[in-house]
Symmetry: C2
Subunit: 317 residues, 2 copies
């Protein structure tokens, strides 16, 4: 499997890179950064660092969109630390970013390898939206697209209704869902919140002496401290690594088909991922309704969290 990773490292993004690097049948062809957890240039510098740790120092990294399509830049250093890596970024990678934007890189690679590449989008969907605008044939050129984002039937994690990746660029997300990818897997908060490493898991990893395990543990110390502060218990929610794991092995989850839209106009609901889950749907008199006329996405519904956490532990060792 050959993938293009779109990401905003970010602690759990970094763990996803380490996860992918441990899969023998996965080839990361290129990485694009995006604003989100941190600004896009910081995310790119961090991607280079983590690829170095992962032994993938030949993977090109392009800086992606510096801001969302239709709102100001907002980042989340209060979660991921000022450097995006919980204070453990260390010196910069000796490598430099490539000389094009992430969306250009994505479009060029998709055109050169039609039907062969899968995209794993772990941040706001700004780059993916730009790529669709640059190349409307993108859905046919890609093998598949896995999107981490949204909260279906559960509260959001930025507002009461919005999940961070969608909230960071609601217009881009809605554009992507409106594009009609025929192989789009959605991994949303209702599923990723079930993938939580507990204190024992974190302690076991901390006892592994390998450089990658020590690096991962250092990041997770910061991350778990954030969650401890919020939940009152030391855990780490593995959003991005779970999306990576489902790209590699879809059989870790069950799925349902849902047509989704993003609310972009709500006072309280801007950034909410909306879909129609009514058992009845007698709304033919309503002009605008969630998901109407859209190709459904395949949304992860339930995941084997224990098996996933076992695999993640193996990958981070």
């Amino acid at each position: 499997m050959r993938i293009i990773l779109d990401t905003d490292p970010g602690i759990d993004d970094s763990l996803a890179i380490l996860y992918l690097s441990a899969q023998p049948d996965v080839d990361i062809v290129a990485v694009g950064s995006v604003h989100g957890n941190v600004p896009a240039p910081v995310a790119a510098a961090n991607a280079l660092r983590v690829l170095d740790v992962a032994g993938l120092d030949d993977v090109p990294v392009a800086v992606g969109a510096h801001r969302p399509l239709a709102q100001e830049l907002r980042t989340a250093e209060f979660v991921h630390g000022d450097d995006g890596l919980g204070g453990h970024a260390g010196p910069p990678s000796p490598r430099a970013v490539v000389d094009c934007s992430a969306a250009e890189q994505l479009v060029r690679l998709a055109r050169a390898n039609p039907g062969e590449l899968s995209v794993l989008a772990l941040g706001p969907l700004t780059n993916i939206a730009l790529a669709v605008l640059l190349e409307p044939r993108l859905p046919e050129l890609l093998e598949s697209l896995v999107v981490l984002g949204g909260a279906l039937g559960v509260p959001g994690n930025v507002t009461a209704h919005a999940e961070a990746n969608i909230w960071h660029d609601p217009e881009a997300a809605d554009l992507v869902f409106d594009t009609g990818f025929d192989n789009l897997t959605l991994v949303s908060l209702d599923v990723t919140e079930t993938a939580r490493a507990d204190s024992a898991w974190l302690d076991s990893l901390a006892q592994v002496a390998s450089p990658r395990a020590q690096f991962a543990s250092a990041l997770l110390d910061h991350y778990a401290a954030f969650y401890s502060n919020m939940f009152g218990v030391r855990v780490a929610t593995m959003h991005d690594p779970l999306a990576a794991a489902l790209l590699c092995d879809p059989s870790l989850a069950t799925y349902r088909e849902v047509a989704v839209s993003v609310e972009v106009h709500g006072t309280y609901t801007r950034g909410q991922l909306v879909s129609d889950w009514r058992s009845i749907a007698d709304d033919s008199h309503i002009e605008s309704e969630a998901g109407r006329g859209r190709r459904p996405v395949r949304a992860a519904a339930a995941v084997d969290a224990e098996e996933f956490l076992t695999r993640l532990f193996e990958a981070l060792k």
Copy 2:
């Protein structure tokens, strides 16, 4: 208990009136009609008819708001029949409506009986909003307010996210929730949908020969046919009677305190009742958030549906 009923009969509104009429300790002081299931004048005429059936032919009925505050009139004859009573309205009541609007009637009675009256709002909240605008002291003048509306944590019944009473006048509902009633009970779709009479219950009622039981059964035949069409099984969801029952006996349900707002600007979420159910709430950087700064309402969380249906059966016999 002395109550003012605000209602848009409507089949389940009519059953709520019959329910209340059977409670020995309940005195319906006045009824106001409102647009919603049917236009407000039709609702008033139906209220008079049902009060006659209930033996309450001395209760004054005022016609209420003919339209929502900020959108065009929309009604729901596709649920309740062209006459609002499933084709069983029959001849008009010999009585006439009173010569003032429902909001005026409400304000006058509240001023004349401070702290003594409870309002049961079974339709869109237009009249209640008007009454608040006419008399800002309304919260102190009323004993309590019970509102049937919204969908908390479940899909809506008009759109994917909006419940009918809120959807019929989102601005009025938001005004009422913003007013700060200190004794406001909310009975929302997540609870009322658990109060479903099944086919056996409906058949038993149909075998009762009393005029009120026969009237109720005729309405329910229409209502259950509508639900059969949607759900594929013959049931009747007792939204309005449940709200009436909880006004009379709050102990039939458990409650939680929630601060709520109504989304009025969403493309997909207009009319959605929003509240913050996150276990964490680190959103101090978001200016506008659901329910922020508002006095919480007491929302019914779970109801003893079996006991309620037993009591409803007794009341309709």
